[in-house]
Structure formats: structure tokens, C-alpha cells
């Protein structure tokens, strides 16, 4: 994950609009990459780090709303600002319900655009951080032995070591050893933290 500035992806079928928006975004201190079609954008490897998507609603072929749907289906977290030639109640309802940051009409107001980009980048970053935390927890969980995993699952329910031992049919002392290993592998400093991690990991577990 090479450290880089936030990237704004511009997807618009109109070459001049694409180029000029990328340029404006760059002058505001962002990196910008422009794509003519939804497919071109999807062909690019997903971006690590802060980014957002400036997306035209109406395009020949797959539309901006299609892309929004595709990103969601792929579980990719990238905040979207829609841009449109004209106000379209139906499209904007759909876009905003799909989690878009904003729905702006062309020609774009500089202030509104940059405000929306800042929000979108922040949200993307936050989501990505959250995700990397989940990934991390998930990785930690995979390092646990089956027995440790069992102990982990019961520790976070609030059971005492003695109860866990009885539950698993092992000595309380053994539970204590496993528990210490779990704390170490999960890089948890306290029981409270472990519980939180389990929550995160539990969501992941529930999902896969």
C-alpha cells in the first residue's frame, strides 16, 4: 500500500468534460484519473487508500447507476459523487439511496464540487480503515488453533475460565493458557478490546 494523496476518479463519456474536471480536481490538490466508460474504470485495479468517484449519470452503455450497483456488488468501498446534465428526481433518489455523497448538476459549481469531494474522500478513507481493521482481525483469527478459537468464542461471551473448562471438558489451567495465547495472537490488551475484536470478527464470520 504505497502512501499517496487522495485520488479522484472521473468517469464521463464526454472527453472535454472528463479532462477539464480531472484538471480542476488536480488544481485542488488531488490526484485524478479519468475514464470514458464504466467498463474502463472497472478494468482498473481497485485503488488502495483515499479516493472517490466523480460519476456521470447518463452515459452510453453502462450508466453511472450501473457502476454504483457493480461496486456495491463487488463490496468495493468508494464514495460516489454523481454529476448529471440536468436534475432528474428519479435518478437522484436512486443514487442517494445507493449511498451517493451528492448529486450535482452540470455545469458544476466549484465550491459544491470540492466540498463533496472532500466528504467523499473522507468517507472512503474511513470505510477503508474500517475494512482493513476487519481484514486484520480476520487474519488474526486464522492464526488461532481450533481449540484457541473455541476458547476465544466462549471468553467473549463473558464466561469465566472455570465455566469454559467445563464447557469444553478441559482443565481451567489449560483454558488460561489458551486464553493467553488468544490475547497474544489477537493483539488484544484487555478483555474489553478482545470483545470488540470479536464483534468485528463475528460480523466477518457471519458474513462468510
Amino acid at each position: 500500500m504505497a502512501p499517496s494523496g487522495p485520488v479522484v476518479f472521473v468517469v464521463d463519456d464526454d472527453a472535454s468534460v472528463r479532462k477539464s474536471l480531472a484538471r480542476l480536481v488536480r488544481t485542488a490538490g488531488y490526484d485524478a484519473e479519468a475514464f470514458a466508460t464504466v467498463s474502463d474504470f472497472l478494468d482498473r485495479p481497485p485503488q488502495e487508500g483515499p479516493a472517490c468517484l466523480l460519476l456521470d449519470v447518463r452515459m452510453p452503455g453502462r450508466t453511472g447507476l450501473d457502476l454504483q450497483e457493480a461496486l456495491r456488488a463487488a463490496g468495493r468501498r468508494l464514495s460516489i459523487i454523481f454529476i448529471s446534465g440536468y436534475g432528474d428526481v428519479r435518478a437522484s433518489v436512486k443514487a442517494m439511496k445507493g449511498g451517493a455523497i451528492d448529486f450535482l448538476t452540470k455545469p458544476l459549481d466549484e465550491g459544491a464540487l470540492l466540498t463533496a469531494i472532500a466528504q467523499a474522500v473522507a468517507r472512503t478513507l474511513e470505510e477503508q480503515r474500517e475494512q482493513s481493521r476487519i481484514t486484520e482481525v480476520k487474519n488474526c483469527i486464522t492464526t488461532l488453533t481450533p481449540r484457541e478459537a473455541e476458547v476465544f468464542a466462549l471468553v467473549v461471551t463473558g464466561m469465566l475460565n472455570k465455566q469454559i473448562g467445563a464447557e469444553l471438558g478441559i482443565a481451567e489451567k489449560t483454558v488460561k493458557v489458551h486464553r493467553a495465547r488468544v490475547m497474544e495472537k489477537m493483539r488484544a490488551g484487555s478483555l474489553a478490546q478482545l470483545v470488540r475484536l470479536a464483534g468485528t470478527g463475528g460480523m466477518v464470520a457471519a458474513r462468510f
Binding site: 472535454s16 440536468y86 436534475g87 428526481v89 433518489v93 439511496k97 452540470k106 466528504q119 474511513e126 458474513r207
Partner: protein, 781 residues
Amino acid sequence: MALLALLCGAPSTPVREVKPGRIVVLLYPEARLLPEILAVEDAIRPALDPDGAVSLYTEYLDLAQAADEQYERQVIALLREKYASRRVDLIMPIAFPALGFFLRHRAELFPGVPAVFAAANLDAVTGLDLGPDITGVRLPSEWGATLEAALALQPEVRRAVVISGTSATDQNLQAAAAHDLARYRGQIEITYLTGWPIARVLDEVASLPKNTIVLFVSLLRDKGGRLFTDPEAVSLITRASSVPVYGWSETHLGHGIVGGRLASFGIQGTRAAELALRVLGGERPGALPVVDGSGTAYMFDERQLRRWGLRASRLPAGSIVRYQDASLWDLYGWNIVGAGALVVALAVLSTGLLIERTGRRRAELSLGERLRFETLLAEQAAIFSRVSGTDVDREIERALRRMADFLVVDWSTLTEYSEDNRTARVTHWWTAEGMEPVALGFEEIPWSVAQLQRGATVRFTRLEELPGVEAAVDLQTYRRLGVKSRVAIPLTVEGIVIGALAFSAVTTERAWRDEFVQRLQLLGEVFANTLSRRRSEMEGQRLREDLAHIGRVSTVGELTASLAHELNQPLTAILANAQAVRRILDADTADLIEVRAIVDDIVDDDKRASEVIGRLRGFLKKGTLERSSLDMSELVGKVARLVAGDAVLRGVVIRLDLAPDLPPVSADRVQVQQVVLNLILNGLDAMRDSVLGRRTLLLRTARDGEGGVAVTVQDSGAGIERTELGQVFDAFYTTKANGLGMGLAIVKSIVEAHGGRVEARNNPADGATFSFVLPAGQDGP
């Protein structure tokens, strides 16, 4: 999904805290740019946001659709999402339905956010609790005032039919009207046509009895779900109605309503913007009382008053009457009557004079001579009473010739003064063989003109009879032109001098007897009437031209809707590029190479925008060419005949020089006719300010050197500025104040679509020549 929800819900710590400016959200009840909404918006936006410090968001709630709960929930969801992360400072609901929506969902959507509403009619709203955070401007119902004004205009009225539709706005305004009109129950019968399909409404109003009036409330949506704007609905209803229609909004005026006490949405918007600024400035809305009934006025449409025979003298004091331009019919009608009466008067007078004269001392003229003159005058009067249209000019010129013959003068002229009485134009003239017609400017004969303008006749047999000092300039002019004797008679219509009739003798001195001058004055009256009638006909001509122009522009208007979208792309790019340049220039180290590249792009996008406009031109030639074999000489001849009347009216002589045996051209007849017509009209327009008598349009067809057929249209107008020669065929290039600049652009498109070429050049003497060449051949290119 669940994960996403969890993450989105989590409180976040943004990388960069962006502090936005003041945020104001305008809530409109409709999803359409209704004229009322535009008026409010036009007033609020510049007042609230002159320098971009306030972010104005606009939400079109589209409440004209059926009050569908699911739809309303969708809208709420959208607004919640959209404004979740924004600190909204002020809500501005426009019109009652938007205010109602806001009040219903306020706790959920914008808790604690103050609001300033505008154009909300609350007259029939009960149990409304605005609370301390809301103020605004009420839209008053003035139906009582309107009804009373209507009854003053039409005292016979016993019944009023009130029309309204089914949208939320319609219902709100209808309820307000009913509330307002309730107190007239005993006075007149009131019928409500509420929520009918438009067809039934139109049927109903078409056959209302005379003692009825129609009150138009609102019809944004009819029973069948058809959507209208107020002007649309008003136009439909006023066109169908058998009785006068009254309205309540300024936006109805001009669409067929007689008038009423009308509300101005612009003023509503301005007042609301004032309140909004105070709230944004920190004042509590609760401390600002709701503005009541602001901005209404009695306004009426002159044309409708006339249409229904209503007397302007019965309008309420302080009424504003719009559309006061004199109607063609009025002027024309008056003149028909006027001319008829004059014939009778003249006949009586002539006979009277004849009888009287027999018993008196014989004048210098023989009886036969005098009889001839009286007969001549009577004939002229008769001719002019029934002559019309294009014959007028021919008859005036014939009359001038006959009079000049009789009076033995060398030239006779009919001069028309401009409406401001500052310039004169010779409209008709006759000259003896070998004489050039001369138009005398005001500055050349100032004394004579001054006499004429105060209604006095100017006559002299010898130049010495003129007052040497006062008429010094006149004398000089007459000497230069060799005028020996002259009589000039003012032409007056209703006491206003509109021109002069003059006879000048150059070869010999000529005496002007009183009795002649009297008769000439009678002839002057005939001419004055004819001229004034002609003026009104010209007015009609102008009207027709305007209509044709509007027709063309509205076709263009339809195109504009789709082109606007296409224009939006380059405009978006231009704006973004310009903003980028501004940022670069603001930075300490401006990269001039980058700036240069951006400016190049701006130029390119601007060109692209022009091309979009150019496509408009392309659209006009859309459709397949229906080629047939054309004889260009025949075609040009026919088009020339088509415009002959117009040419006469403009004092232009059209000359034809058509080659007899041209090879046929394979082309679309209608389109080529259009080309020739446009070139001729262009030529006629170009000579608008040329000296009369030198307005010649020469149409010529010939073989082109390369085997094609060339058509040239040569005018004697002002010519084309050398710097503009290259642009005359460009779309929207025009030198005319009211021109759209499409005529020659269309010419070029059509000719080039036929594989031909166009050319414009200036003539060696004066004027310009436009030509086009089409390739010869049966099959075309």
C-alpha cells in the same frame, strides 16, 4: 450489506473538516419550472446569494403528482440522505404545498432549522401552527377585489364559474378562493368546476351565457392527470370561453384573461429574500412577523378589454393596463369608415361648388377646365375609397400623374413624415419625361416644412414671393433645383400632419388659384387617409412578419431543448477549465504552459459549442432531398412573382434577366425556392434605407463557366462591410435589429447539400451581389 450499514453508521473522523458556507434549501412544490417558480427564484437567488457566499440548494418536491404516500416517503429518504451531513441554516418552502410538506416532515428532516416561506396562500388553511422558527410571506387571495372590479366592468353579471384542478397547489388555491368568494354568495351565483377533465372544462366555458364570468384559479393538473402550466391552461380556457375570464396572478396576464387584482411572484420572492437575509443574519424568525398580502395590483389587458367591449373608464383607480398598442383592426376599421364618409362629403362639396360657381363671376379658368378638375377630384376620391392593398401605390402614382398633367407641373411628390416628425420620406412621385425625382430633406427646406407642419399650405409662383430672410435656405435649395413655382399641401389626419403633397414647376412659372388650392387640399385629405390606411396595412405587414419570425423562432425553440443539453457539456468543460486556471493563477508558481493548454481547451470547447449551434442549421435542412429536374429561370421567375407585392410595398423594382435555355438542374424544388426567396428577401431588406427610385433588385440566371447554373441576386443597398464578407453565411450573423441571422445560413446549407456553392461580394457601385451555383445534370451529384 450488513457490514456496509454498520460502517456507514459508525461515527467517522473525516480527514479534512470542510466548513461549508451558509446553506439554504429552497423547496418547490412542483418538479417543473413553472413561470411562478421562475419568478420567485429570479427574485430570491440574486438577493440571497450575490457573491456565492450562500449555498442555495433547490428541491423540486413534485407534489403535483397524486399525493402518493410511497412517493413522499421516497422524497423524504432522499432529502435525509442528501442533507444528513450538511448543516442546513434555512429552509425556504415556496407555495403552500411545499410549506405543508415541510411542516409535516420537519421533525424528521430538518429539526430545529428555521424557515422562511413565500407565496403560500394560507387563507383557507386552518389549525396551522407555524411555531417560533418560521416566518414568511403570505400569498393573498384577492378574489373579492377582482370580482368587484369585474362587476364594475360588467354590471350585468349574475354568475361566476370558478375553475381549478386536482394538484395540491390547485386545491389549496381553490379552497382559498372559495373562502374569499363565500361573502358574495347572496350577490351572485358561484359555480365551481373543480377537478374536471380539461375537455369538459373547455366544453363548459364555450357555451356560458352572457351574464357569466369565468374566474381562473389554478389548473396545474386536471382530472385525467394531464399537467399544465398556468399560462397554458389560461390560454386554453380563454380561447374557448364565450365570456370574459379573470385571473389572480401576473403570470396569467397576456394569455387571454381580462385581468383582476393580480399577485406578483417576483415581489413575493423579494420580500421572502429580505426575511431570509435577516434570519441568516441571526434574527429569530419568531420576531419577524409574517408579511401579509404583499405585491398585488389591479392589472388588465387592453386587448381583452377591447375584445369584450369593456370600458377602461370603469376600471378601479390605479389600474395598470398592459398591451396598449393600437390594434390593426381599430386603425383599419376607422379608415374604412373615414374614407367612405369622405367620398360622400367630397361629392356633395364638389357639386355644391359647381352650382355655386355658375352664378358667380367667372374665374380665369373656363368652365370646361373647371369641370374637368372637379371630375378628376371626384374620381380620385372614389378610387381611393375602395382601393386597397398593393393597388394603393399604383393609384396614388396615377393620381399624381393626372394631377400633374392637369396642373402642368414637372414633378409631383407625396411625402410622408416619420412619426416623430423629424424626417421625411418620399413615398410616391411622378416626374415629367427626363426629370429625376428629388427627395427634399427637412434641412433643405426648413421654412416650408415648418409651415406645412403647422398645417399651412406653401405656395409660390415666383421665388421672390418667399420671405427672403426666413426662407433663405429654402430659396437656395429651390434655386439649385431650378424650381420656379411650387404648391405644397399638408396632409392631416385628425389634426396631425402626417406628410405633404407637393407640385413643382421647373420649366415655367405657374400660378396657383385659390380654388385650385382648395381642391388640392381636398385631394390632400384623400391622400392623407389613404396614407394612414396604408400605414396601418404596413403595420399589418410588420405583424405578419413578426408572426413568421415567431414561427421560425419557436421551431428553433423546440430544437433548443435538445441542444441545451449538448451545449451543457462544453459549457461544463469551459467552466471547469476556467476555474482550474483561476486556481493555478492564484498559486504562487503558476505553470504558464499548463495555463496555455487549458486556455487552448477552452477555445476548443467554445468552438464545439458553436458547432452545436451550427447543427441547428443542419437540422433545418434535415430530411431527404426530393430531387427533380428544374429550370432555374422558371423557378426564379415564379419566386419573383411571389414577392412582387412585397417589393412594391418597399418601393423596390425587381428586374429579371433570365437565360432562356439553361441546362436543367437536379435539385429539391421546395428547398431551392427557399434559397431564392431568402436571397430576394435579404436583398429587399438591404435596400430598406436606400434612396427611393434607386432600389433595384436584379435577378439573373446564367450558365456557369463550369457547366452549372448560376443564380445571382444583385441589390442596390448598403453593401456588406468588408470585414464581414466572410461571415454573412454564418448562422446567427445578422445586421438587422430583429433578425435571427438564419436566412443566409439556410441558403448555404441547402446549396451545399446540393453540391453547389454560394458567394457574396460587393458591387463596384453600391449594394451587394449574392450568388449560388448548382451543378447541372439530370441525376445530380
